[in-house]
């Protein structure tokens, strides 16, 4: 990425801090950079407003293999005014991409749920785009638990 958008830079900063705290290797910040790249590509380098997007995740995931995730946007879904896409990235996975959900006015609600894989404790970032080109975002830290017995 040549020029970091403010939002992307923010996301990067936040996740960089998280990585430091949990003492993960440098590859994590590489993943965070790639996450920021993907977001910038999605937004066309524009800044997404931190509002309207909700991310539901367990506070502590019991394992990283099947983590329930729900994203929604509090915005109209009618006629030519609807949420068209939500990009979801995980900034600590080997590949940060998770999914892009695409909606239409027929969707009724800008909401999607799935189950995801998380390599470790990290941020989930969602960015939504409306049919009018508005951009909204949010992020949430999810802790992936650590087993007791080790290897």
């Amino acid at each position: 990425m040549r020029q970091l958008s403010r939002r992307a830079a923010l996301a990067l900063g936040a996740s960089g801090a998280a990585a430091t705290f949990i003492g993960l290797p440098d590859s994590v910040s590489a993943a965070a950079k790639e996450a920021a790249d993907q977001i910038a590509k999605f937004t066309g380098g524009k800044t997404a407003e931190k509002s309207k997007v909700s991310i539901e995740l367990p506070e502590i995931a019991e394992n990283g293999n099947t983590v329930p995730l729900s994203v929604s946007v509090d915005a109209p879904m009618v006629g030519d005014n609807y949420v068209s896409e939500i990009l979801v990235v995980a900034d600590g996975n080997p590949n940060p991409g998770v999914a892009t959900f695409r909606f239409s006015p027929l969707s009724g609600k800008a909401e999607a749920s799935t189950r995801i894989r998380l390599a470790a404790t990290q941020n989930i970032i969602a960015v939504a785009k409306t049919s009018k080109g508005e951009l909204f975002t949010n992020q949430k830290l999810v802790k992936v638990t650590i087993g007791g017995c080790g290897g």
């Binding site: 506070e59 394992n63 293999n65 802790k143 638990t145 087993g147 007791g148 017995c149 080790g150």
Partner: protein, 423 residues
């Protein structure tokens, strides 16, 4: 069958429940004698021999330690080791060692230890050691407490890290050097990292919804198997045309003492031996077909309170043996079942909650989201042992039968809800 469900207490219900199966079994060909017992192939083993550990499990040879079938571990030392002088250790190395998850899950599994491991989800089975460096403990005491804490506390659940050779003297000295640096209360990044404030997990998933729980797919699979003829040309269906009615409570009466085998018989081994004796199918324990049949037979009895025979002399003796086995220290880490699921129950072992025995049986076989597989209770027993560095037994081992019966007895009255869904 209905009566079995209504009568909540007493052996009458148990006998009736068991009897329902017996009569059903006898309605086909081959009813045996007056008792009409369900036919069982009593020859041979019900699981693979030689038993081979699962490929993805640690391949360590733990044959020199106690298992449920052998007593082999060295006995506890009587006195602490005398040290020549003060400890010289490398505190930085010690800080790494206490967080090393390759050797028994790390000290953080049980202790809060100040900044060690980033204070990331430590457990609280043992005391918070964040200020142990100001506690006025002698080096020799700290060294011996790690080396083999039984010299100070024979009842401890803590492994003899040095005595069993998990860490050498130098490594333990490094850990002691690190402990001596711990002089400030633990600081947690989030409340979730503090095991005293971390909320206990609550299982809320709809485990009987096939879109939530892939374990439910086994119910479909088993219904196909039910109609599939075995080598003897018969299927389950040949004798059990109305599975839903016939098995409405049966699984809740299992496991039970089986005189023909002289051991406790669980649903999974029953499936193997009964199918061999009737349809000719050879559904060995811990194979997909066996797991599917076990899920289905439990599923049919869902909602029925667990009610095993705890009154016959044979059952009582088996439960007593199971209780003794649950107190036996096993493996290199020297844990008894009751260390984690009794003495330390309702605590965190690192980020995992240690449950009490009650509630650890009614959902088996269960789907494991971390492994994308169905596990029956015997596989769960095996995994626990391999994890604490003990050799597991074959799933049809009589010791597992005793242990399963003891566990079921502690779950008396819990309603079956199978397949469960757990991490």
């Amino acid at each position: 069958m209905r009566l079995g469900g209504i009568l909540a207490i007493g052996t009458a219900a148990v006998l009736l429940v068991a009897g329902a199966f017996v009569i059903a079994g006898g309605s086909g060909a081959g009813a045996q004698g007056n008792k009409k017992e369900a036919p069982l192939d009593t020859n041979g083993d019900a699981s693979a021999r030689p038993w081979k550990r699962y490929a993805g499990w640690p391949a360590r040879d733990e044959s020199k330690w106690n298992t449920l079938a052998q007593v082999a571990s060295p006995s506890a030392p009587k006195a602490p080791r005398k040290l020549a002088g003060p400890i010289t250790g490398d505190a930085a190395k010690g800080a790494e060692l206490v967080a090393d998850r390759n050797r028994g899950g790390s000290c953080l599994a049980c202790h809060v230890m100040g900044p060690a491991g980033g204070a990331n989800l430590p457990g609280n089975v043992g005391p918070d050691l964040s200020q142990i460096g100001s506690a006025g403990r002698e080096d020799e005491y700290l060294f011996n407490y790690i080396y083999d804490p039984r010299v100070y506390n024979p009842e401890t659940v803590m492994p003899p890290w040095g005595g069993h050779g998990v860490f050498n003297d130098q490594e333990i000295s490094d850990m002691v050097a690190f402990l001596k640096t711990l002089k400030s209360p633990a600081a947690f990044k989030t409340e979730l990292d503090d095991p005293e404030k971390r909320p206990a997990p609550v299982e809320k998933r709809e485990n009987l919804d096939p879109i939530e729980n892939p374990g439910m797919w086994a119910v479909d699979k088993a219904q196909d198997l039910w109609k599939q003829a075995g080598a003897a040309g018969k299927s389950c269906q040949s004798c059990h045309s109305d599975a839903k009615a016939e098995f409405k409570t049966w699984a809740a009466s299992m496991p039970r003492w089986e005189p023909r085998l002289n051991k406790v018989l669980g649903v999974e081994e029953f499936v193997t031996r009964h199918a061999r004796a009737t349809t000719g199918a050879n559904w060995l324990m811990e194979t997909d077909d066996n797991r599917a049949m076990s899920v289905y037979l439990h599923f049919l009895a869902n909602g029925t309170p667990i009610q095993i025979d705890t009154t016959s002399a044979e059952s009582k003796a088996a439960i007593e043996r199971g209780k003794e086995l649950s107190n036996r220290k096993l493996g290199e880490l020297n844990f008894a079942c009751t260390d984690c699921h009794g003495k330390s129950a309702n605590h965190w072992i690192r980020g995992q909650w240690l449950g009490e025995p009650k509630g650890q049986y009614d959902h088996f076989p269960t789907w494991r989201t971390s492994l994308l597989a169905i596990w029956d209770i015997r596989q769960r027993f095996q995994w626990c042992q391999v994890n604490i560095r003990a050799d597991e037994l074959p799933p049809d081992a009589k010791e597992y039968g005793d242990l399963e019966l003891y566990l079921a007895a502690q779950n008396d009255g819990q309603k079956l809800s199978v397949p469960g869904i757990r991490h």
